[in-house]
Subunit: 344 residues, 2 copies
Amino acid sequence: MLLTDRQVLILQVIVDDFIRYALPVGSRSLSKKEEISFSSATIRNEMADLEELGFIEKTHTSSGRIPSEKGYRYYVDHLLAPQKVKTADVQIIKSIYAERIYELEKIVQKSARILSEMTSYTSIVLGPAVKDNRLRRLQIVPLNADTAIAIIVTDTGHVENRTFHFPANISPGEVEKMVNILNERLAGVPLVDLNAKIYKEIAVLLRQHIQNYDLMTEVLAETFKIPSNEKVFFGGKTNMLKQPDFTDLDKVRGLMAMIEQEEGISEMIRRNPEGINVKIGRENNNSVMENCSLITATYSIGAEKIGTIALLGPTRMEYSRVIPLLKFISADMSAVLTTLYQND
Amino acid sequence: MLLTDRQVLILQVIVDDFIRYALPVGSRSLSKKEEISFSSATIRNEMADLEELGFIEKTHTSSGRIPSEKGYRYYVDHLLAPQKVKTADVQIIKSIYAERIYELEKIVQKSARILSEMTSYTSIVLGPAVKDNRLRRLQIVPLNADTAIAIIVTDTGHVENRTFHFPANISPGEVEKMVNILNERLAGVPLVDLNAKIYKEIAVLLRQHIQNYDLMTEVLAETFKIPSNEKVFFGGKTNMLKQPDFTDLDKVRGLMAMIEQEEGISEMIRRNPEGINVKIGRENNNSVMENCSLITATYSIGAEKIGTIALLGPTRMEYSRVIPLLKFISADMSAVLTTLYQND
DNA sequence: TTTAGCACTCATGTTGCCAGAGTGCTAACA
DNA sequence: TGTTAGCACTCTGGCAACATGAGTGCTAAA
């Protein structure tokens, strides 16, 4: 079951070649490669063995071989010669963070865009769930007699806002008092806990200052319902169309539908553990991903994982270029975010 | 050059049929239709004339006919029997506005989504340019020693926010004063004019209260640079993939690239005049639009046009269903927005 | 163990053929 | 003069036959 050195070499060359040219690789063309010093017949024998072991497969009886998912898996796990990230690319990535951006979301979004541009695959970044941010400041801006905007600023510079309707008979003075109470009591509280706190602590206080305090409490609670999902950012949504692998319109439709939906893809990304992960084809447990690979890398503030940056491409992905790139970006992002937000 | 009644009838039936089935229409199948009481031979003669006049064309010598762009044009201009909007659809549209939403953007975005769902084409809505909104309130929330978020709330409930960096040595007290000054002086001013006002009126006032007033003024001016473009909202970006007309991957790629870019498509929409407009195929002056039509309808607050709602589909679009729908939605949106924002 | 050689397989492209849909034209008809 | 039936013609699309070329598996010799 263990592969011989020569088999490994052949597998490696097959995968490299197929990644490059997207065409089945035959024994004759292999025998012409520098790395390979034995004849096509020998290669054929070895290929037959490799096929039997499940590392490569044929598209039809007399075709060349293409890597199977297992073949890619072996390649990724054992054969990857990670390229160094090109200095030009390093420059570009560094420049994302060179501007003094504070807003976490912008950093994340920009990273997604650049990653997709550098790879011409589709990048997906799960931003930190807003619910885990902490409240920095709450403001209420009245718009008309019964409508106002609540603005929530978090410690990561994220601004969340939503309109709501006042219960009847509330005075500007009361609103002001309420805002003060809320800011005093809720600063530093994770958004996800706002609701509980409002019922537990704030309601009592409001009672002392506001007429319609019970209705108001309810409105506040409703207003501060924070979506529990991570935000999803995309880069190069339609890059898949450019890949020669996707000539089948139906496949494309399926993929696009999934990307459009956001749910499916973010769920798929989310279930990967910390660090860097490569999921090849059906390893993603999703029929539309049959010819796709997904590489994920988590990023963090300090030691705490806060999001995932992912790359979606054909199984025939340039792993050796892309994996180091993703590692680099996620590490760099983590570093930047950590200096920005660590000691808040 | 004027068409006879019979020619018009035939043209109408051809277009209707082709819109429905996406297959070239032959004389024999035409002759079997109820509406048509004369023989296939007669139809052939008429079709020959119609072709000579440029209203229909063949895909090959012995194929049935399909409408030309000129044919669609005539159909849209003269033959459209606008269907009534289905009551079910009316319900759905009404329900968009039934919830008491105040935020203009949400209304616009929701409209885009629903329009695309009802038509299975791609909808694009140009929201009002943020720069034309008026400032309702400005807030500044410090994030750390030198960074803060400026939050701009407009009269349409839009919240714009951006981070900026304080010049050195500014005290919390000074910031508060500044915010007060800005709110006093700038409330009701269109965002696009903020900059001018800051240099003309605010700078002088800041001078009296703030040490580093010149640097601060510059930072403010920089912060209040408002993007001049309309916001673009999409619905059903990938709906085009579902149309039988788009089997050619290259065409699809071109279209998707344009949609992804946002620039091209919004520019194309923008150059249509007020009211409802139908641009067929090359009338859009854009090679990727060759087999597409674009229908635009403007919406307004009171008498002032503030945005455009558009629908992108194949030239073989269901004009008779879709045009009334678009009319209805744009009118309804205008009505709702007018009651919400007219007297602000 | 390696390799040369050969028979075999299959995808691809070409050709010819046929059926079917559709046209254009002509001649007869109302 | 307008309408229609009929017929010859054209083109697409599907199918089968065939050649080609890339590639394989196997055998036998080195």
